[in-house]
Amino acid sequence: MSEAPHTVKSYEEELKNLNSNIIKMGGFCEEALGKAVQAITMRNSDHAESVIKDDEKIDKFETLIEQQVVNLIALRQPMAIDLRETVTALKISSDLERIGDLAKNISKRTLLLNENLPKNLVDALVRVSSDVQKQLKSILDAYLDRSSSVAMNVWESDEKTDDLTNLCMQEVIKYLKENEKNLDDGTHLLFVTKNIERIGDHTTNVAEQVYYLVTGKYLEGDRPKGTEPIVTGEK
């Protein structure tokens, strides 16, 4: 937000409120992703169940933010930085909502997983998920601090996430090949890995929005891409 406050105080309040709702919603998403990951690594079903239950909260934030944005556009006709605040809030909220959904899906699958998963597989999963958790935290901080440089860093780091995802996929595929009995768990784990990567993608989308919000410019060029996805594990 700009330094000087609006002459119309209620307008100022509405924009601040929108801003704080994005931050709260982001906090819930961070929490959901953290719990979803812990549910797998620490085999904690309570965590998984609470992620599933709490997704409703995140959905409600999306609806609330959408209504606030529509009201601002209809009643305040925001311009310049206010316009960018308003439009990016709408887009960020929809990415955050998807992050919530993906965390919920991870948790649903976690509840179906076997108690004892191979350590190297869990380790690979932890590597990619901690990376994504770190990016999500950074971008929410960047939104709060209006930092285009942090947003740019997050955007560029998606490449690393893609690489870690592929390594994790390889572990899952190895696990699948070991024994036919691993088919159920392995399939769930493929989706879990893919969902974590998708959360990384949505985080990158948020980074693009934060960059636009702060600078008024679009991040140019193709998003950095990591190695090509592994299909067979035997390339």
Partner: protein
């Protein structure tokens, strides 16, 4: 008119200073106005935007204490030069004011006045044509064609303003200056004027002073922001309203001023 994808410059203001007595109202204004585009001038009251507009057809001449310095070049000619024929200048540069101000005469006479003093019609028939064309271009013809000899002051506010626009375009000006042309009009009449501005820019260069940010955004392609007698920022309208460079511009258009 475009040349190599770039709009031609119709008016070029260079180092323009304006004084009312000892008080300086405009400080070193440099602004190029593009041909066949709508340029909006915005800024808080007293910022100098109307003063600048009035420089463009030497309307400030009528104020004794007002002194204009610097160059205003239109068609390669500095209108502040001593040899400038102000009557000819105002034929080329028409003006529409905030409050509709039709002459206390008939609709027909309102339009025919300008072409008469500039000797633009050789016959009654030619004058009839000018009146009809002007009213058609001002999107007023259909509403008034059966009462051309009734007083212009009998029209509604929005119609009176379109009559004033018809009067301005009757002498085929190259540039039309508009000083808050819609501030006394209701939203429907405002929309009609805005639609008209969009049409008129095909044949004329338009400069509009407006207090309505939304109107500036809707009607113009270029916007200039004035503050305390200075031109703070000017550029394409979408840039000014989405991502202005200057913090003062941003504070003004987002309602954070003062």
């Amino acid at each position: 008119m475009r040349k190599n994808g770039v709009n031609m410059i119709k008016i070029s203001a260079k180092n323009v200073d304006v004084f009312y007595g000892k008080k300086q109202a405009l400080f070193n204004i440099n602004l190029d106005i593009e041909e066949n585009q709508v340029t909006a001038l915005i800024g808080p009251s007293g910022c100098g935007k109307s003063t600048f507009l009035r420089c463009l057809n030497r309307m400030n001449d009528v104020i004794d204490i007002c002194k204009v310095q610097g160059e205003i070049v239109i068609n390669d000619f500095n209108i502040n030069d001593k040899g400038c024929d102000v009557v000819r200048l105002r034929e080329k540069i028409g003006m529409v004011f905030q409050k509709p101000n039709p002459f206390p005469k008939t609709l027909y006479e309102n339009i025919s006045y300008g072409p008469t003093i500039h000797g633009m019609a050789q016959s009654k028939q030619e004058m009839d044509e000018i009146v009809e064309t002007s009213l058609k271009k001002a999107a007023l013809w259909e509403e008034v064609k059966d009462r051309l000899h009734e007083p212009g002051t009998g029209l509604s506010g929005g119609q009176q303003q379109r009559l004033c626009i018809a009067r301005a375009i009757s002498v085929q000006p190259e540039v039309i200056l508009m000083d808050e042309p819609c501030s006394a009009l209701d939203p429907i009449a405002t929309a009609q004027i805005e639609e008209l501005i969009d049409e008129l820019k095909k044949e004329h260069t338009i400069i509009i002073v407006t207090h309505s940010m939304a109107q500036a955004a809707r009607v113009s392609q270029r916007t200039g922001f004035f503050h305390l007698g200075e031109l703070i920022e000017h550029g394409s309208t979408d840039k000014i309203f989405k991502n202005p460079d200057n913090i003062k511009t941003q504070d003004y258009i987002t309602g954070r001023f003062g």
